[in-house]
Symmetry: D2
Subunit: 282 residues, 4 copies
């Protein structure tokens, strides 16, 4: 237990699980939550000054209030301001430039940009993607042929899972490094030119326009496309719809499919950020 005090404002169930884990080490208070949703043992009455304000993913609603999907009231940044210690740090689950004007005297850190959290989130993202495939497909993944576009962290995590299903896995790569990474993972690499047209599922993990109308028109209309790339995604969704190809744009999977794990991963990163800042300041 350190003497750090953290105010966790708004958010979904991830923040509760995050709070529970952080409470083993810090003094935690929740704000922007309906009382009955907060487990016993977590404080909900703010008092004194906090060293850290933890905001959710994303931190702010369109109207500028804190994102509070589990609160029947409203929570605006001004209500929180007076609760912060002079050197308090704001941890936000996505950068939002309004934060700098709301909290001009505080450092703002986007924890979702942290390398270890991005890597960690690949696991629940991949599991959520596989869950969608299992739910949507009328065939087994065993014996199916699947294309994964991109061998980054999410593509790698997906490939690892799909190996267990006995799925034939191709990965679309764009250069010899990608092909070599596929080899290390024991997976067949294809390029945009050598990819097949009859995949059962295509998982896209690349945030570039990979699946253009022209490429989509060469694929089977029976293929299910699951896009895991953040905006703008990597599939031409309009063209897919016109071609009769089913697409699912699956964003925010960690919070939806594994909120406990996702919350604990946020907590892990919060701990790291606090530890690093303490060393710097000492």
């Amino acid at each position: 237990m350190t003497d750090k005090r953290i105010l966790i404002a708004g958010g979904d169930m991830r923040q509760i699980y995050c709070a529970e884990r952080l409470s083993a080490k810090y003094d935690i208070t929740l704000a922007g939550w309906d009382k009955e949703l907060v487990p016993d043992g977590l404080g909900i009455v703010p008092y004194g000054e906090y060293d850290c304000l933890l905001l959710p993913v994303p931190p702010l609603a369109e109207n500028g209030s804190i994102s509070t999907p589990c609160f029947s009231g409203t929570l605006v940044p001004d209500e929180l301001k007076g609760l912060l210690a002079p050197e308090a740090v704001i941890l936000a689950g996505k950068y939002d430039k309004r934060l700098s004007s709301y909290f001009p005297d505080n450092a703002v850190v986007d924890y979702m940009e942290r390398e270890e959290l991005s890597l960690n989130n690949a696991v629940p993202t991949a599991e959520g993607a596989v869950q969608i495939a299992l739910e949507e497909l009328p065939v087994t993944l065993s014996g199916s042929k699947v294309l994964i576009a991109g061998m980054g962290r999410i593509g790698t995590a997906l490939a690892e899972i799909l190996k267990g299903f006995g799925t034939e896995i191709h990965t679309a790569v764009r250069n010899p490094n990608g092909a070599a990474k596929a080899r290390i993972h024991g997976i067949k690499a294809v390029t945009a030119n050598t990819m097949d047209s009859d995949y059962t599922v295509v998982f896209n993990t690349v945030p570039d326009m990979i699946f253009t109308r022209e490429r989509l028109s060469r694929m089977s209309t029976a293929t299910l496309f699951i896009d895991l790339a953040s905006k703008p995604g990597g599939i031409d969704f309009n063209s897919a719809a016109e071609l009769g190809i089913k697409t699912i744009w699956a964003l925010g999977l960690p919070g939806r499919t594994a909120p406990v794990t996702a919350g604990e991963m946020i907590a892990e990163t919060v701990e790291l950020i606090i530890a690093e800042r303490s060393i710097e300041h000492d």
Copy 2:
């Protein structure tokens, strides 16, 4: 294409996919189906004499009519009788002694009892079980600890899939042969006495009362139990409920999670049965 003629009566979507596959080789007619659910190209007007009557899983409703969940009318065995050739064989998706009295002159074969279909069905069953786990758990399978009771075909298929998730897998075995099978699959074997109490999920595949009240009471109430064993199952469900342990009894997974694959597997077995009987009779 042989000259065999098959009448497929009743059943769910599996029978449609089964029919589509069989139609590449045999003359197929469907009965007990609403017209609009039947894809073009499959006949629905019975005529002449059929060499084989394919009944669904299970074949009969409680009232003795054919099981026809996709038919707004009723289909009784007597309507089918006149359509069968003298030596016609009845293939039923479960043995029902009423069939012998309805069709006294015909051989009745329970295709679900066939070894290759039982083995094949292990794959969609295991995938369906993993889908349930992904849907139910608020944590990732990665890093979870799972117990599989039984290293038969379903337990093996499950273990293969879960390996890909990076799940810690224990298998509960009852003798040294089970332990050796676990070793071949690279999995840790435990016994009823050495199993842990804190599994995230327990999958039961053994159709014996493995998880008695006494054993359940030694497990964490946070554990999810998924029972894949056919009646009477392997979990004391009443005791589990009283102890506050969540249980899911997941029966008939192949048809629910992968009807195309499950239907094609039935077709594969139907082809085998017909081929074997042709050789015998020639």
Copy 3:
């Protein structure tokens, strides 16, 4: 510790590791070993009467003496006879009918025939086979195409290992049950008619003449054949030699590649046999 006394006669290093493990539970003496090869703590001076005589794999040399590759002298069955209790059981690592005439009053059990030992031995056998492939091949197993004939215990253990290498695995099966077993393990099944001709390695695990001259002549001469089946093996070795195909007949791998593990597996089975016989006799 029970009061059972076991005399371990002859054998290779496996018997030493077996003895070390058994000595935790039983009173052990070694015979037919050069003194300097026996670790401290294991007795080498027989005395009194033994409840069990453990003979090696195989138990007897051609001339009828005990198989003693690690002994500069000779040990004949008659020397051991007087050391056995009236009800003593002889455990032999292969049945040899001469044993019944040498020890007419004792039960003889072939421990290598035990189901759990056969299953357990599949693991060191498969690892030894992979070691041979790694040593012999000038290419990586990653990206190679391999055929495994037979999906029994050794074939399954091999497939599990090769999956990790990113090898493309085909398994040659002889019936739909074999194909379904392959599906459960996520492996592609082929038949004698659909197998390819350009495998990097073929592992045979079936003790029948699978690879006849006719079949060998359809395979690439660059393929390495590794036969793991006991006599008479499953490859026509003479034809292979004439065709210029390299073959390796790898017998007795557990003792050669993992003597500690193999010895401990024998000990495990000895314990089981003794426990079962004790229950019967009590």
Copy 4:
């Protein structure tokens, strides 16, 4: 086939396999090889001017001549000079500053430094490391506990292979990113402080002094250490010897364990370098 001409001088069997692959696309001549070791179809009489000189790994012997382990004569750089076109590029399997003085007018490229070749080489390196473990260990990898220090390309390739063996895998990481990478691959991460002391094998892939005397003295003396890191390695070999710990420093595995694959990987990279330089120069 392009009109490029490549002179391949010296080297081991890798260069032959490399030459064979390159000969499908370029005009190839070998120099610094005993005639009888060169397969038919590869030229050995240099003529005209070459666009590219491919030197081996490493390129030069200590005395400054070309590294020619398969040549009974000697080949000095001066002999090659006159054979090079004015713009010819020198591809060397390791940077050596003497090359710039020998060939002052030519660009020198170290192909072993190329990202895709480093990635590709991870596969034969990992397979070679597993081969050593199989050869050295008296126990099976199945059921063993193994530590991999470093989750870079070689560590990842190793982990993928060992998973198939049913080995319990720990990976020693130095920061939260390493732990997250381990999670993506489904492997348990430990730190220098939380690692166990009883590993069957430790594979080091980190070219820093990881296993100091102090750390080695906390490990079991039964552990086998295999160091895959290039000079200076990551193990205090002297201390290990004094502590009675067996170490193997395994360098240059790709050429030793899979010369065909390693040679083809070099060819792949040579093709890439030539293609990239052609685009630049066009």
